[in-house]
């Protein structure tokens, strides 16, 4: 692993950068990035199962404090990182977007766990949002259900690497007049309005779930309800229907 806790080595990229921009800007950049990467305060914000692993990450065994990131702030104003830990339902999504809008720049988002990335195992539910990246930009996606605490630490280091690559003059929140606030979706009669924000996310042809994996509901189509009024079938054999043999590997 190429992770360096102090990020003090001067690599080739940095040298060429030094040649281009001069020492002052580069040092400033470095200082600035170092400050942000070493003091990422997450928001105390858990949604579901992954939140427990997030807490476990802050606890003794894994100790996120080593990275200076154990100060879980309850207020979005004071936090730098939103860890979307758990399923974002349609009922919760507006609040998540609002919290994101309330955070002060520079702000980062890690989606922790399958659910917050794309809906995860609950993707076919009527109240489950298929990924919070439909409304807000995400910096690091962290798959797993739930990801191990170590994986969250890995995600944090991934975020630190991302921060290391940023520069003051190109980071967007120092551009004039730009504030990253995204419209908060409304509740509609069947789901959220809008279903996604095309500024942030657009559907991809290759991943159309309906075409690839079929419709979300299999048995909405069962046309016959069980009739419990009838007495149970005579016990032919106590066993349920025997298993069909798996398909023959031999053709």
């Amino acid at each position: 692993m190429a992770f360096s806790p102090n990020a003090s080595q001067v690599d080739d990229g940095l040298k060429s950068e030094l040649a281009k921009k001069g020492i002052v800007v580069t040092t400033l950049n470095q200082l600035y990035n170092w400050g942000r990467r070493s003091s990422i305060w997450p928001m105390q914000f858990g949604l579901a199962c992954c939140a427990i692993e997030m807490i476990a990450t802050a606890c003794a065994r894994y100790d996120i404090a080593r990275f200076g990131a154990e100060l879980f702030r309850p207020s979005p104003r004071q936090s730098d990182l939103m860890i979307v830990a758990g399923t974002v339902t349609k009922k919760m999504a507006p609040q998540v977007v609002r919290l994101y809008n309330q955070m002060a720049e520079p702000k980062y988002v890690i989606t922790m766990g399958a659910c917050s990335i794309a809906g995860g195992p609950f993707i076919d539910g009527y109240n489950v949002l298929r990924g919070i990246d439909r409304y807000i930009p995400i910096d690091v996606h962290l798959p797993g259900c739930p990801p191990r605490p170590e994986a969250l630490l890995y995600g944090l280091m991934e975020l630190q690497r991302k921060i290391d690559g940023q520069e003051i003059e190109t980071t967007e929140w120092y551009q004039k007049g730009l504030k990253r606030e995204y419209p908060i979706p409304d509740f509609g009669p069947h789901g959220l309005i809008p279903k996604f924000n095309p500024e942030v996310w657009n559907p991809r042809e290759t991943e159309n779930r309906k075409e690839r994996y079929g419709e979300p509901i299999l048995i909405g189509r069962k046309d016959k309800a069980p009739n419990l009024d009838l007495p149970p079938a005579p016990p032919r054999s106590a066993a349920p229907a025997p298993a069909a043999p798996p398909p023959e590997p031999a053709s």
Binding site: K91, H190, G220
Partner: protein
């Protein structure tokens, strides 16, 4: 503990006019309006079924059902399963909240999921979905929206917020609007071969 058949005769004897039917191990109450009377009998007679463990709805395509599981905490006996059926168009069942506080949230849940209206419930609102949600999501004919396709309402909302909607998406939404359709995740109607 009495057997289900004995229980049936006992209740029918105690509350004249009620008819119960044996459905497997449970009792089907023919007339939903008797529910309160039967429940009161269950709670206050020597059966002592003071604990309503579970209330749930179910959709059987032609009718909706509400299933109650009673236990007795004092006598540590149970369960007595009571079921009540109601039609799909105008589902109405008396509420047990006055008798069993524990039914309050569970009846709200069944209302939210199946649209069963529990008469006499003090606060019958949707519990999980938001107010303004249409449809009863756990019914078997509920159709989910297609979350990949924008509809005209979404496009209008986005443009109102000053978000630029890409042309192809907008065109698709307009097309749908013209056809008067919603973007659904399922093809309506056809039963899928099992």
């Amino acid at each position: 503990m009495l057997s289900t058949a004995d229980l049936k005769t006992k209740i029918e004897a105690a509350i004249p006019g009620t008819t119960l039917k044996l459905v497997r191990e449970s009792l089907l109450l023919e007339n939903p309006n008797d529910l309160l009377k039967v429940a009161r009998f269950l709670k206050e007679s020597d059966l002592g079924l003071d604990y309503l463990s579970s209330v749930t709805g179910a959709d059987y395509l032609t009718y909706l059902e509400s299933v109650y599981h009673f236990y007795s905490m004092a006598q540590k006996s149970g369960p007595v399963v009571l079921r009540v059926r109601t039609d799909r168009q105008n589902p109405q069942i008396p509420s047990l909240t006055a008798l069993y506080r524990g039914a309050e949230f569970q009846e709200r849940e069944a209302y939210d999921m199946y649209g069963i209206v529990y008469e006499g419930h003090p606060d019958l609102r949707r519990v999980f979905m938001w107010e303004g949600f249409e449809g009863w999501p756990m019914r078997k004919d509920y159709q989910q929206e297609d979350s990949e396709t924008l509809e005209m309402a979404d496009v209008a909302w986005l443009e109102n917020q000053g978000v630029k909607v890409p042309e192809p998406i907008k065109a698709k939404a307009e097309e749908l609007e013209k056809q008067g359709k919603r973007a659904l995740a399922q093809k309506p109607g056809q039963p899928e071969p099992q």
